[in-house]
């Protein structure tokens, strides 16, 4: 559990208990069997929404094909009962296992895709399964009745008991969601949704967290499908794999509130009774009314309050309490020992090259950074500076050359693996997690380094103190100024206990005073023995801070050495100011 999660967890659990008791009491009073069915369907669709929310709400991996898992759950339970006479009490866990396996099989190829490609590919799975089941002849499978021991086969004469089962599954689903939300799992998902590359560069293995989210999500969805089959006693491919099923999960969650535990519950509690009763009243005259209501609901909610009802209501009537003061340091963490390699520099780059088509963006670049040194990498626009950093931290792969950190090779690794080797990185255009508070932005970096919860918190607090942002810790990153964002990125990199910092134009777009503030922070880091490679345009600022320069132009190293020597190098002056200027000077 994350630091400070306990009060929220306690509050949510209390709300869950009270809510479930009231709901069950209410459903006990309902005698009309049709309303009773609606009372059972609400928690089923709610838990399906919860499962969608974990992957697509928190993690931002939009899935339009969650019916795959719902349907797999439903068909596993039904077919196991029909062919093996397996009671749904075991059938549902079996369905969850199958759903989890399906999630792995679906996730392995599909997570190679991003954004709308992912959403579309997910759409294809349930439709393919649907046609396949029709081909196999499972158009309509009904559950056999067991008159002897109905309860042992999850068959009840009193429909209210189905509601109890459905609410039980919903409670389990919500508790899982709570645990995720209040742990590093949830923070990793929120971070990767808001900026995947930043999360990777902070050491988060985004692929693995996505996969975990999909598996958990698939298992919960399968459970919902299993219960659904037991309640309706009959499954058809269309009723469990159809487009409208996938849409249910999307609709109830978006309507209720994305990335909130209560969102899907609120959405299902409002929309399911509405659509069902409309369907019952008008279904004969207007056969598709349910779909029209759902379609209208998501369009309306998307235009009016894109985050859903829960967040709108909360922001309107229950404004966020003022951010809690920054938690004090609880344990003194010793920063990662800056063990100098037995011999030679900390970072050594040799013959590094990378082409894009015919353009040699980086060409046979070699340099080294010694421990405790600040290396300035300068050069005109398009010189290949950022590409160089992208090669070093794994965003791009190199065509040839080597790069080693304390003797260990950095190339051929994924972005988060490079980060875990001890390389912190900031970006030319700040990559923040705009809707997370500053402290959480920084904690992501600490989690990325694999620190346990309390140490991660302390590391983040220390990093914030180091860059001087301790007073802004509760503010959302989206509201910070440019300078604060630059410092935040620096703090996030520092929270990962790096051995080497790669700073990409940290001073870009800052005024002179702001620039000085950031330079002061860098000077403080140097005193603590941090090794830094920094990209910068402006010679002026770099002269103050850098111990040594490497000048790049057209992807090649033009010059390197002490700042004084480099700025007087004729080739450097020519690259910056042009031949004419040089000729004029000579004349």
């Amino acid at each position: 559990m994350r630091q400070g999660a306990a009060p929220r967890l306690k509050r949510d659990l209390t709300a869950l208990t009270i809510g479930s008791v009231i709901y069950l009491a209410l459903s006990a009073c309902v005698t009309n069997s049709y309303y009773q069915l609606i009372m059972t369907l609400v928690p089923i669709w709610a838990v399906f929404g919860v499962s969608w929310n974990i992957l697509s709400g928190y993690g931002g991996q939009l899935s339009f094909g969650h019916a795959s898992f719902f349907g797999i759950g439903a068909y596993t339970v039904t077919l196991a009962l029909v062919y093996w006479n397996l009671t749904p009490w075991f059938g549902i866990p079996l369905g969850m296992a199958v759903g989890g396996i399906a999630a792995v099989l679906i996730g392995l190829p599909t997570f190679r895709l991003r954004g709308h490609y992912f959403a579309l590919a997910m759409l294809a799975y349930p439709l393919a399964i649907l046609y396949f089941l029709q081909y196999l002849g499972f158009q309509e499978v009904s559950m056999p009745m067991h008159r002897d021991h109905p309860a042992a086969f999850l068959e009840f004469t009193d429909p209210r008991l189905y509601t109890v089962v459905a609410v039980g599954v919903l409670i389990a689903g919500i508790v899982v969601c709570m645990l995720i939300e209040n742990s590093r799992f949830g923070l990793a998902l929120l971070a990767l949704r808001q900026n995947e590359l930043a999360a990777e560069a902070a050491g988060i293995d985004t692929r693995r967290w996505k996969m975990r989210a999909l598996v958990v999500s698939g298992m919960i969805a399968a459970a919902a499908g299993g219960v659904y089959a037991c309640v309706l006693l009959i499954v058809t491919p269309d009723s469990v794999f159809g487009m409208l099923v996938s849409a249910q999960a999307v609709v109830v969650t978006l309507f209720g509130g994305v990335a909130s535990i209560w969102g899907p519950v609120i959405g299902a509690a409002i929309l399911v009774p509405l659509a069902e009763s409309l369907n019952a009243e008008l279904g004969n005259v207007l056969p598709g009314i349910q779909g029209v209501v759902y379609g209208g609901a998501i369009i309306a909610i998307m235009l009016a309050s894109p985050d859903g009802l829960f967040w709108t209501v909360r922001d309107r009537w229950f404004p966020k309490p003022p951010p809690a003061p920054i938690p004090p340091l609880r344990s003194t963490v010793v920063p990662r020992a800056v063990a100098a390699p037995a011999s030679g520099p900390l970072l050594r780059v040799e013959g590094l090259s990378r082409s894009f088509g015919g353009l040699r963006a980086v060409s046979k670049v070699s340099f080294a950074v010694g421990t405790g040194e600040i290396l300035g990498i300068i050069g005109p626009n398009g010189a290949g500076k950022t590409t160089l950093f992208n090669l070093l931290n794994g965003v791009l792969s190199a065509d040839e050359g080597t790069a080693t950190l304390a003797g260990e090779t950095m190339l051929g690794k994924k972005v988060h693996q490079v980060c875990r080797m001890g390389i912190g990185r900031t970006f030319q255009v700040v990559r923040s997690f705009p809707r997370l508070p500053l402290i959480d932005n920084v904690i992501v970096g600490a989690y990325g380094a694999g620190l346990p919860d309390d140490q991660a918190n302390d590391a983040a607090v220390r990093a914030l103190h180091l860059v001087g942002l301790q007073d802004q810790s509760g503010i959302d990153a989206g509201q910070l100024t440019n300078k604060q964002l630059r410092l935040m990125e620096l703090a996030r990199a520092l929270a990962g206990q790096p051995r080497l910092l790669l700073l990409d134009e940290t001073l870009a777009g800052l005024g002179r005073d702001e620039c000085n503030d950031v330079l002061d922070v860098l000077a403080r880091l140097r005193e603590q023995g941090m090794t830094i490679a920094i990209i910068e345009h402006t010679m002026h600022a770099m002269m103050r801070i850098a111990d040594r320069f490497v000048v790049l132009d057209h992807g090649r190293v033009l010059a390197s050495g002490l700042p004084r020597d480099v700025v007087e190098d004729r080739a450097v002056i020519e690259a910056y100011l042009g031949k004419k200027w040089l000729a004029k000077q000579d004349a």
Binding site: A128, N195, G288, G291, Y294, L303, P306
Partner: protein
């Protein structure tokens, strides 16, 4: 199966693949236009296809305005007329819904508004499907033309092996190719085409050059809808359809567009042609129920095996 009938089956599948493929190509252009110019993923494109089919149906059958044209010319004129009707519908959709989650309004937000676009177009798709069920009913219908049951016979080529070219499909294919070429020429050589391409390339810069990007997007969206609707009208001559037909085709459209290279109009046509070709040829080896499943599998394979490279920028600037 003896050699003769094998050859006959293969040749007929190839012929059907090419004719149907051209119509699919036109259908994909509509989607490709919207994605290529606006970068909007329109989830409701299949429903616009469906609207095109029904527009054509109501124009040329029963008491429709174009009923006087008779069953030979009528269906094809109806298909073309479905274009402007759905164009207006699409432009209105853009004005009231799509423009609020796309274009300059969302440029530069966290995910360029893709989340909102997917959700809003999903909503439109649900409303059109189910609204279609209310308005049009669930009985499958078709735009009848006697041409659908007549064929041009080529051959016998080998023994008794003969290629049958369905006349309705053949004319539909010709119309599709003409419309596609007309669109291509418009995009290449007219002022409007230039404005569309400029807005696609860099909306902000286009604004500074005095192009009304919002209006350009509206035209692009309407045109994308209209083109797909024409393809729908053409398909209506040989296919029985209902309000939910869009779902089967939205995946086909995306396969074609992705295969041809997201963003390329010409590519979308070739992509659609390829998908139609593969679909018809799969009939040779697969039982009919599995053909649709095969399309989805092909779609998944296309999306997986050709990541970024062919369709869009791969590395974002760090």
């Amino acid at each position: 199966m003896d050699l003769e009938s094998l050859i006959e089956n293969v040749l007929n599948a190839l012929a059907a693949g090419i004719t149907i493929g051209c119509i699919y190509g036109l259908m994909c252009i509509g989607l490709g236009l919207i994605f290529g110019i606006m970068k909007v993923v329109n989830f409701a494109q299949g429903e616009l296809l469906m609207l095109g089919m029904f527009s054509s149906l109501y124009l040329v059958t029963g008491g429709g305005v174009l009923a006087f044209l008779g069953p030979f010319i009528g269906p094809f004129v109806g298909a073309i007329c479905a274009g402007p009707i759905v164009f207006v519908f699409g432009a209105l959709l853009h004005k009231f819904l799509i423009s609020r989650v796309s274009g300059l309004r969302t440029a530069g937000s966290i995910d360029d508004g893709h989340f909102g676009q997917l959700i809003v177009t999903l909503g439109i798709s649900l409303i059109l499907q189910n609204g279609g069920l209310i308005v049009f009913g669930s009985t499958p219908v078709t735009v009848r033309t006697p041409l659908a049951s007549r064929a041009i016979e080529i051959g016998p080529i080998y023994g008794d092996a003969t290629v049958f070219l369905n006349k309705a499909r053949l004319i539909a294919c010709a119309v599709a190719i003409i419309v596609a070429i007309a669109l291509y020429l418009t995009l290449e050589y007219t002022r409007l085409g230039k404005a569309l391409r400029a807005a696609a390339d860099n909306p902000t810069a286009a604004t500074y050059m005095g192009i009304d990007v919002n209006r350009t997007y509206r035209i692009a969206f309407g045109a994308g809808c209209g083109i797909t609707a024409i393809a729908g009208g053409l398909m209506a001559t040989y296919l029985s359809f209902g309000p939910f037909i869009g779902l089967d085709y939205v995946i086909i459209m995306y396969s074609g567009v992705v295969l041809g290279g997201m963003g390329s109009i010409l590519g979308a046509f070739w992509g659609g042609l390829t998908v139609g070709f593969v679909q018809q040829c799969s009939a040779l080896v697969l039982p009919p129920q599995l053909q649709n499943a095969a399309i989805f599998v092909v779609f998944l394979l296309i999306v997986m095996l050709r990541p970024q490279g062919l369709f869009g920028r791969s590395a974002e600037r760090a």
